[in-house]
Symmetry: C2
Subunit: 114 residues, 2 copies
């Protein structure tokens, strides 16, 4: 595609990934997780995310009542664990439904005669 | 969820839809389409989009070489038809692959014990 084409592709890829970290975090934090642990969980699921993106997002989701957090001090060092709230779980369901609806739309457009 | 909760949900829904109009337009315009025709095609596929969003996007995708356009004057009034270029088709494939990869990630996270 060439360098310019790659830039265009990357910008569109970034757009299509937007919002995915929110859904992925809400799903993953049904089990309480601390920031770095969540990063590796997401990476293991193929959803690579940067700490710079994730950590502020976790605070934002907490502010919106979708996650709660609590410090755990029993480990080698204190860590803040995030857990998805019932509202967060409901939100994740709605986001997943939306994501599926997009997929149904793509399938419809794909199979259209052209 | 209450009004505040709805706002939060809507902002996340909007994020997860981002990029979807690009992919949908590239798929739909494998058959040449004019703006309003494309709007109704997308709506029929469940991908509701506003003209205010779509029309500038089409020009942007044309600028990026993913669509080409041509005026057709044989109809009741002249209309600009957009058609996906080979680069646009390649881009759509990559975006669709990315969208599928996100889905695989969600499935992975969903089935994780919690």
């Amino acid at each position: 595609m060439g360098i310019e084409g790659d830039e265009v592709l990357n910008s569109h890829l970034q757009e299509i990934r937007r919002g995915s970290v929110v859904l992925a975090s809400l799903l993953a934090c049904r089990t309480p997780r601390y920031g770095y642990g969540l990063l590796t969980t997401l990476a293991d699921a193929g959803l690579l995310t940067e700490a710079n993106t994730l950590y502020p997002l976790l605070r934002r989701l907490e502010g919106q009542g979708l996650l709660t957090s609590a410090w755990r001090t029993g480990e080698s060092r204190p860590r803040k664990y995030y857990e998805t709230t019932p509202l967060g779980i409901e939100t994740a369901e709605r986001l997943h439904t939306e994501w599926l609806a997009l997929g149904a739309g793509y399938t419809e457009l794909r199979k259209a005669e052209h």
